[in-house]
């Protein structure tokens, strides 16, 4: 099972959801789909039509920048991090 760490600003949208999740899936897309089964609506917050990751959402698999198609190893650690973006 991969370990997924969600950002606090995302958790605020889903009261009661924990930051850390152990999730099955062999790609970033599969992991997000699995998480969406546990946290309905979570996929919509991270993925836009395409499908692709939203422009200001970064996903790192074992420290490397990833896309939805990126493979995920059984013991991978996945960080979901909002981009440093925006202005005033």
């Amino acid at each position: 099972m991969a370990t997924v760490l969600l950002p606090r600003s995302l958790l605020a949208l889903f009261p009661g959801v924990e930051r850390r999740h152990e999730v099955a899936g062999d790609s970033v897309a599969a992991v997000i789909d699995t998480l969406d089964g546990t946290v309905p609506g979570l996929r919509d917050r991270l993925v836009e039509s395409g499908p692709r990751l939203r422009p200001h959402i970064n996903v790192f698999v074992d420290g490397a920048p990833a896309s939805l198609a990126s493979p995920v190893a059984v013991d991978a650690v996945i960080h979901v991090i909002p981009a440093v973006s925006g202005g005033a």
Binding site: S9, L10, A12, L13, P15, G41, D44, R45, L46, E48, S49, G50, P51, R54, H56, I57, P82, A83, S85, G86
Partner: protein
């Protein structure tokens, strides 16, 4: 006891201002909706739930819902998509309740969605997107946005929508087909054809109280009234100081009265003309306009009021509120004659809605 709420959508979240029927002292709560940019707020008839429309630069579009007057919120964007191969939806710009218990949401890029489960899920009203003129639609300065939805009060088959730089459309078959409704409306930015079928830059429109065939329209190029359900429009800009502005609200009981805030033309800054704040109203269907500035700053007031940032309540006398793009919220409890500032420290205000709760 009567509670009066002002639901305020800003660039940095929703806020709720609350007062009693006197509307003199206000308390404030917020930011709500996790600080998301909020373009519109409404109250769902029947349930009294608050709904907020917006979109996060990080997390995308959603409609928020609160069933405890804003204390807690949930959100959903299930179904708010044109499909995997199409352009993503950036944000939700407008909400409206239908007379048969549904909800409409207008989005960017321009399109219409409907929910029949109180906003839990949405489905695309593709009859509008499939209109033959769709390939010609282009964005205005604010984007390609469906910002105004006016359902007929009793006939659920009829609805009007407004899209910036595209115009007004009406459906009479519950969204299956749509007709452009822009006859008589100028498009000065289109010199080869000032009166095209579509391409008019509607900024806001509202239905006259008790007369669904009468509509008032605030356009980029003037102010208009229709007396035939939008099939034709006649200009009523009259003695207004400019023909530009964004906001317009109609009286809740008098079909001859509405309020608006003229702004200097886009090339001159889009603020209140000469830096003198004023709200204008008509009591005769736009035949003449009356300027009011009592309580408002009369010099160095370079204020702008965006399309959704003006609202009226249903009390007698009617309360009028407007919010500025620099975070000031102004209120009149005497039908727009005199004004007091409620706050000047909110973020950029995009939307205001007035709600009266009894009991």
């Amino acid at each position: 006891m009567t509670r009066v709420l002002l639901l305020v959508g800003t660039k940095k979240g929703a806020f709720i201002l609350e007062s009693d029927a006197d509307r003199r002292n206000w308390s404030s709560r917020g930011p709500l909706c996790e600080g998301w940019p909020i373009h519109d707020l409404i109250v769902e008839p029947g349930s009294g739930a608050l709904l907020a429309a917006g979109g996060s630069p990080w997390y995308g579009p959603a409609v928020w819902r609160s069933e405890d007057v804003g204390a807690t919120w949930t959100h959903s964007s299930a179904g708010l998509t044109y499909g995997e191969a199409a352009e993503p939806i950036k944000t939700v710009w407008s909400l409206s309740a239908t007379p048969d218990g549904g909800l409409f949401a207008g989005v960017e890029p321009a399109g219409l969605f409907r929910s029949d489960d109180r906003g839990a899920t949405w489905r695309h009203v593709d009859g509008l997107t499939n209109h033959p003129t769709r390939p010609t639609w282009g964005p205005g300065a604010g984007g390609l946005i469906l910002h105004t939805i006016v359902p007929h009060p009793t006939n659920a088959a009829r609805t009007w929508v407004g899209i910036s730089a595209v115009g007004v459309f009406e459906t009479r078959d519950a969204g299956a087909t749509w007709e452009p409704r822009n006859v008589g409306v100028r498009a000065e930015f289109n010199p080869e054809n000032r009166y095209p079928v579509t391409g008019q830059c509607v900024h806001k429109f509202a239905m006259a109280a008790g007369d669904p065939e009468r509509l008032y329209q605030r356009n980029h190029c003037g102010v208009y009234r229709s007396d035939d359900g939008s099939e034709t429009w006649q200009e009523i800009t009259g003695n207004l100081p400019t023909d530009f502005g964004f906001s317009l609200v109609a009286h809740p009981r008098d079909p001859n009265t509405c309020w608006l805030i003229p702004l200097s033309v886009p090339e001159a800054g889009r603020y209140m003309p000469d830096g003198r704040a004023a709200v204008w109203r008509t009591h005769d269907r736009g035949a003449s306009w009356i300027r009011a500035d009592e309580g408002l700053p009369t010099h160095d007031a370079f204020l702008s009021v965006l399309r959704e940032a003006m609202a009226r309540d249903t009390l007698d006398p009617v309360g009028i509120t407007f919010g500025t793009s620099t975070g000031q919220l102004w209120h009149s409890s005497d039908e727009g004659v005199s004004w007091q500032m409620i706050t000047d420290t909110l973020p950029e205000i995009w939307a205001v809605e007035s709600v009266v709760l009894d009991g």
